[in-house]
């Protein structure tokens, strides 16, 4: 009998033992910790000053192998997968036939004919339905493969010490095979924090000793296990969007206004209209010609404005203590011109930031609009400015190790 419980990750034995407040949250049908400590402050700080160790196993993972593996992926995603060399990783959304985004994730080319796709939602039906007549085998390895993200300025030093792999020379959005204390792992220089960082992919049955190795080695480098609350702040600072929060999957959207195209999500850079046919191409060609109606932008709250609003009620400015994930209206005068979908106080930037959908004519950086804030139970407009994302983009994210040349930009995030 299946116990009536959410799935747990391969690291559960370790993560559960560290849960000070038992702050379990759901992620893709798994129980994961919002924070290990009673507050996520220190976990977030570790990501930006030491290293955060984040269990990202709930991601869906598919191994796609065979002569037509590249052809299948190229049919599904708008990016040109043919350009992805062995040992490289690319980020991409994928669309339905109307050019609306279904999901987003990464494609890692593990071998000549072998790729791994990660996604936020299950995609086995979508993959197999698109693979008709192709010589390709699709294997769901979501549960058999664990994944842990090691993110932060000391991540490379930790891995260099513990891993038997070419880590120091590993460039942004590249991957390498190796071992950690004898445990076979794949290490990719990827992550969801916009910082220097890696994701380590391991067979589920070796996940616990891998965790131990990283935690023990990391002790000298400011490593802390970090939960998804800390991750949420980091990913907003990095300007990275999240399904179900910042957009609705085309497979779940109920009304026209709930669908989003890659252009509307600031992912136009992933769309290659020249590479040949792919799902949604015709619609995207048309949208590219006319220009999208919506844009996905970063906004920064005007600090002075916030101070004034709170001063008027006799309080110092109140800031969100965790990242919020609700829809907040944006105005120009009395007209609503968009809505923010996630926001937070950025401790590293000392700014109140948010990710937002706005009509394209308000999308240029520097555009002044207003966001609704609730000040002591009263709704008030506060001035906000459209800014470029990522909000936080440290050089170390893409830089090589000291004495190594910088890893090339243009690899794509």
């Amino acid at each position: 009998m299946t116990p009536l419980q959410l799935n747990t990750t391969p690291f559960h034995q370790r993560t559960a033992a560290l849960a000070q407040g038992h702050a379990w949250r759901r992620w893709a049908g798994h129980a994961v910790l919002g924070c290990y400590q009673l507050h996520h402050d220190r976990e977030y700080a570790a990501i930006r000053s030491g290293s955060g160790l984040i269990d990202v196993s709930p991601l869906y993972k598919y191994l796609i192998h065979g002569r037509d593996a590249c052809r299948l992926l190229n049919r599904i995603v708008p990016r040109n997968v043919a350009k992805c060399q062995v040992g490289r990783v690319l980020y991409t959304p994928w669309c339905d036939s109307h050019g609306k985004v279904i999901d987003d994730g990464t494609i890692s080319r593990l071998g000549e004919k072998t790729y791994r796709l990660t996604s936020a939602d299950p995609n086995i039906r979508w993959l197999t339905d698109n693979a008709g007549g192709m010589d390709v085998v699709i294997e769901d390895v979501s549960r058999s493969l664990g994944a842990v993200a090691l993110q932060g300025p000391t991540a490379r030093d930790i891995l260099a010490r513990v891993a038997d792999a070419e880590v120091e020379s590993l460039r942004y959005f590249h991957l390498t095979e190796g071992t950690i204390r004898g445990i076979p792992v794949t290490i990719s220089r990827t992550g969801y924090t916009g910082d220097l960082g890696y994701e380590i992919w391991v067979a589920a049955d070796r996940a616990v000793p891998l965790w131990d190795a990283l935690v023990e080695t990391g002790a000298d480098y400011g490593l802390l296990p970090a939960g998804i609350l800390a991750l949420d702040v980091a990913r907003i600072e990095a300007g990275l969007l999240m399904i179900d929060v910042d957009y609705v999957s085309a497979h779940r959207a109920l009304i026209d206004s709930q669908f989003s195209s890659p252009y509307e999500l600031n992912l136009g850079w992933t769309v290659n209209l020249e590479k040949g046919p792919f799902n949604g191409r015709d619609a995207l060609v048309a949208e590219h010609r006319h220009g999208p109606t919506w844009a996905f932008v970063g906004i920064e709250v005007d600090w002075e404005g916030l101070i004034e609003l709170y001063a008027a009620v006799g309080l110092p400015p109140q800031l969100p203590t965790t990242a919020w994930r609700i829809s907040v209206p944006l105005y120009v005068g009395r007209t609503q011109v968009g809505y923010a979908t996630s926001g937070c106080w950025s401790p590293v930037l000392k700014k109140y930031i948010a990710l937002a959908h706005v009509e394209t004519r308000f999308a240029a950086p520097g555009t002044a609009i207003e966001m609704e804030v609730t000040v002591e139970h009263h709704r008030r407009p506060v001035a906000v400015t459209v800014v470029k994302t990522p909000f936080f983009d440290p050089e170390r994210k893409k830089a090589g190790a000291a004495g190594q040349r910088g890893s090339g930009a243009g690899d794509g995030t």
Binding site: N7, G29, R125
Partner: protein
């Protein structure tokens, strides 16, 4: 001398009570007459065995219109709907399929049976949302006559035409498929998991004399999705106190509006003078006069039994003859000393607070139908079971339980007719089949009540024991329910109306027929 009655409602089923409550709230003097000693019709809770309460004929609720709950303030009259979170389908091989209400748990279970169905489940849910949204406005509409050129009908038809046009081609085509296909074929288009398909397709056969492979059942399947889309109102639930508590709440709202309800008052006929209904005559000879008479009974009783047939046009009598009842379901209610222990999921657990569906495969359901097609009850029937006492401890003494088993097929026209022996044989088939999945069931039974379609007819007064006052089939819905030209709650006799489940939209503990009928009656009064 008291004011004469504005309206007499014949039958205190839930639709009759809804009509009465709305008329009462409009300030009218209303009398409801009920043949039995309690109100509710087929939605009654009775203590058949001391200490154990059975929802004798019915069991769950999802379709009760939220506007009725709100407008009649049923919550303040005691209506409380408790959640029914899951459906367990035990399988002959000892495994099971569990449809959890929780999305993550539902995915976990689908992943175990058929990984592709995980995605299909979301897409199907969205499709049914769209289809239910497409059909829902029709449910709240007085059915227009498509052959009429009257301004009112034309206006409604135009509105309907625009509605379908606005659906867009994709949804319209899907709706067309839904209207024409069998539930099995429709589900085959989406799912691989056999018990999932079977359990879902079962919704498409309930209360019909059709099998899952019969065309038209896909629509009935969708009819049951209608309750899912009202946000705050739970999908499928169990009324605290059983389905009788729903009737009691509506009766409470009616009484609060000044409605008088008289039980053990059996109406023999509707009195008609100069083509107008003027009151009713009871079986004991009493005559009660009223400005208007409304029948909440099924069409056969409303037209052919309560009225002198010479008052009716030939084509209506013809139409009523073609209107099919064919009751196909029965009910077994059990008082239990302990809960059944299901081999596939032993011991107590959350599954017993949900439904248990005996529907392992579409073949299984179709074979159950095969028996019925040739006049026998299913030797191995489809069953939808719940344990009301697990959900609501007030239904049985502490530690003991009641079990409600909806059973299909049990044809009204059983070969040789229903007898006491046949009824017990039918009950045995039910218990024997269930005991294969829960071996301790037989020894736990303290009392057993078996209800056949004949019993439903005899006790609740539903013709041929059809729980929906006539099959919910496309050929007798909307402007054809119950008959062409008489689908707007009126009858050829002036001031005589119909408000039961045999009028549009009909079916389930929904109340929509009763509400629409009240609206039409009030409109006529304002006009006169």
């Amino acid at each position: 001398m008291t004011r004469p009655y504005d309206a007499i409602i014949i039958g205190a089923g839930h639709n009759g009570l809804v009509t009465a409550a709305y008329l009462g709230r409009a300030g009218k003097r209303v009398l409801v007459l009920e043949r039995r000693h309690l109100v509710g019709g087929a939605a009654v809770t009775e203590e058949i065995f001391p200490g154990f309460k059975y929802s004798v004929f019915s069991y769950v609720v999802s379709l009760l219109r939220p506007d009725i709950i709100r407008e009649l303030d049923l919550a303040s009259h005691g209506l409380q709907i408790l959640p029914l979170e899951s459906t367990l389908t035990p399988l002959p091989n000892g495994d099971y399929f569990m449809a959890w209400g929780d999305h993550d748990l539902a995915r976990q279970e689908l992943q175990r049976h058929a990984p592709r169905d995980v995605e299909a489940y979301d897409e199907f849910g969205r499709l049914m949302h769209h289809m239910a949204m497409a059909v829902r406005p029709i449910l709240g509409m007085i059915p227009p006559d498509p052959t009429s050129l009257s301004p009112g009908d034309l206006k409604s038809l135009l509105k309907l035409g625009k509605h379908f046009h606005d659906l867009g081609p994709e949804r319209f085509h899907m709706l067309y498929r839904l209207m024409t296909m069998s539930s099995a074929d429709f589900l085959e288009d989406w799912f691989e998991c056999e018990p999932l398909k079977a359990t879902k397709s079962a919704s498409g056969i309930i209360g019909t004399f059709l099998g899952p492979r019969s065309p038209g059942t896909a629509y009935v399947l969708m009819h049951h999705y209608m309750g899912d889309i009202d946000g705050a109102f739970r999908a499928w639930g169990f009324a605290r106190g059983g389905t009788g508590a729903i009737s009691e709440a509506i009766a409470g709202a009616a009484r609060a509006a000044g409605v008088e309800i008289r039980t053990e008052a059996s109406v023999e006929r509707v009195m008609v003078e100069r083509g107008k209904a003027v009151g009713v005559a009871l079986e004991d000879g009493t005559e009660i006069r009223a400005r208007t008479v409304v029948s909440a009974l099924d069409p056969r009783r409303t037209f052919l039994q309560l009225l002198d047939q010479s008052l009716l046009p030939d084509d209506l009598i013809d139409g009523l003859r073609r209107y099919r009842y064919r009751g196909s379901s029965g009910k077994v209610n059990l008082a239990l000393s302990e809960l059944p222990n299901f081999t596939c999921m032993p011991g107590p657990g959350a599954h017993l607070a949900g439904a248990i569906s005996i529907s392992p495969s579409i073949d299984y359901l179709e074979r159950a139908y095969d028996d019925a097609k040739y006049g026998e009850f299913s030797r191995r029937p489809f069953m939808d079971c719940i344990f009301p006492s697990v959900i609501d401890p007030g239904m049985a003494p502490p530690g003991q339980h009641v079990m409600s088993i909806f059973v299909q097929y049990a044809p009204y026209d059983l070969n040789g007719g229903w007898t006491d022996a046949k009824r017990e044989a039918f009950g045995d088939a039910v218990i024997d089949t269930l005991a294969e999945y829960a071996p301790n069931l037989k020894s736990a039974i303290l009392h057993r009540q078996v209800i056949t379609p004949k019993d439903i007819e005899d006790i609740a007064g539903l013709t041929e024991g059809n729980i929906f006052h006539g099959e919910l089939a496309l050929n007798q819905l909307f402007f054809l329910r119950p008959a062409a030209r008489w689908a707007k709650y009126r009858t050829p006799v002036k001031r005589y109306y119909q408000c039961g489940s045999g009028t549009h939209p009909g079916g389930g503990i929904m109340g929509a027929s009763g509400r629409l009928a009240a609206r039409e009656i009030l409109a006529d009064w304002r006009g006169s």
